[in-house]
Symmetry: C2
Subunit: 246 residues, 2 copies
DNA sequence: TGCCTTGTTTAACCTATGTGAATTGCACGG
DNA sequence: CCGTGCAATTCACATAGGTTAAACAAGGCA
């Protein structure tokens, strides 16, 4: 049983980790952030965290599991626009005081922490750096959306799939969710991956098999392994710049 | 010569118009915003406004003309990720105090106003609603990116092109740039439209001709006319919700 | 034990869109 | 008036990826 992920963390630990990665925070700010996250609420797979932008008085932070934002097309097909991993904010509608136009749904069993908006306002007033950190979260998410856009506009199926796997590897690694052997949980179905990448399920399957044959990726039982991350990155020219503060 | 667009405006007028559309601003805030925009700087077509996120101490607002944000793919092709029309902020990097990862280039002769960052900070401190208004600008831009993502992921060529034309019609109309007869300047080349929509130039051309034959759109000499906006909207199920504050 | 359900895989066939290359129409500069 | 060059257009052909349907595997449950 090598690769136990990590000991249990306090709810706020994950968000704290994310924010300090993006911004130097004072000791006081860090404590405030850590304490602001409420006891996690648990969601089953395919349960809605945010329904069509119905926003209330709290910011939701994914603490564990996997989720996505999506939009429906008129023909009933679904386009996934972002994947949400632990540490991510589920919905940025609170920033502009307007409900989000999208819904957020879990893709696996997940837990979500709440940060009360009034409380957050107080923290931000005392520690303005926290606001910058949050805005960086938003900027990175926007960057990820842009990169997905680039994938759909200009990359072929093989590059789309490998680029997304590289991104997941990178993001989950930052969250401490990649094991020693380079494997990580990716609780997606191939159909869902297709809904994000604009590919049919069948073609996602074909493409994943090519990656297997190339010895660059395996994906079984919701676990992805990249035996040769460097080879994978160079295959699709993955550059994680868009996922980092600078 | 019907349809003269509108009399000359003071530089800050356009931005003022945009922000008040998104947010109720007090008289003081409106004056502050109006006065904060510097004398416009003029750019030729295809000149860079922001180069690879080299950010300085001012926010740039497009006052007239047309621009886009883009990213290059490793194979040298270019993916346009956003079109920027008068009233839009060119780059939101200043929000998170990190350089943008993209470049902004004009697509026609354009003018750009600058808002000094320190000055803006002062305004925001006195009138926090201005910050919310700016964050709404950012949210709407994110919404537009998402919608383009949806186009690339799930719409066919005809719907992509018509949806984009509907969006342009809507956005330019808000900026007061659509003439009585429903026509508006779209200083793009078909190749550039293809770079945004993930289509080859040839196929953009084919598609535009279909729209012509359907009597839904004409596009000549950089001028687009939608004789039947409603038909156009229903063709591609255009819903401008994602472009508005609510 | 055996039937559902959900997800992956395979196969045959089809089409929307890309590619390459030539043609046309203009606007511009000399 | 003639070249030059960019943008729009056309044509012939190629292909990546979609579609439909069926088979297969594994887990849950009666």
């Amino acid at each position: 049983m090598r690769g136990a992920l990590r000991p249990t963390l306090s709810p706020g630990e994950i968000w704290h980790r994310r924010l300090t990665d993006l911004m130097d925070l004072s000791e006081g700010a860090r404590a405030a952030v850590r304490d602001a996250v409420s006891a996690p609420r648990s969601y089953q797979s395919r349960e809605h965290i945010v329904r069509d932008g119905l926003e209330d008085t709290a910011v939701r932070v994914l603490l564990s599991g996997f989720a996505c934002r999506y939009k429906y097309l008129p023909d009933g097909s679904r386009q996934i626009t972002t994947f949400i991993v632990p540490g991510d904010i589920c919905d940025f509608g609170f920033l502009s005081d307007s409900p989000a136009s999208q819904s957020v749904v879990t893709l696996s069993h997940s837990t979500v922490g709440m940060v009360d908006l009034d409380r957050l306002a107080g923290i931000v007033e005392q520690y303005p750096e926290v606001m910058t950190a949050i805005l960086r979260c938003a900027a990175i998410e926007h960057g990820a959306t842009n990169e997905l856009l680039v994938s759909l506009g200009g990359r072929n199926a093989l590059h789309r799939v490998s680029h997304l796997l590289c991104e997941m590897h990178f993001r989950l690694n930052k969250a401490g969710l990649v094991r020693e052997d380079g494997s990580f949980d990716l609780p997606l179905t191939q159909a869902e991956l297709g809904e994000a990448l604009g590919l049919s399920t069948v073609h996602v399957n074909r493409t994943v098999q090519v990656l297997r044959r190339l010895g660059l990726a395996t994906w079984r039982d919701k676990v992805v392994t990249l035996p040769d991350p460097e080879g994978m990155r160079s295959l699709c020219s993955f550059d994680p710049g868009y996922l980092q503060a600078r």
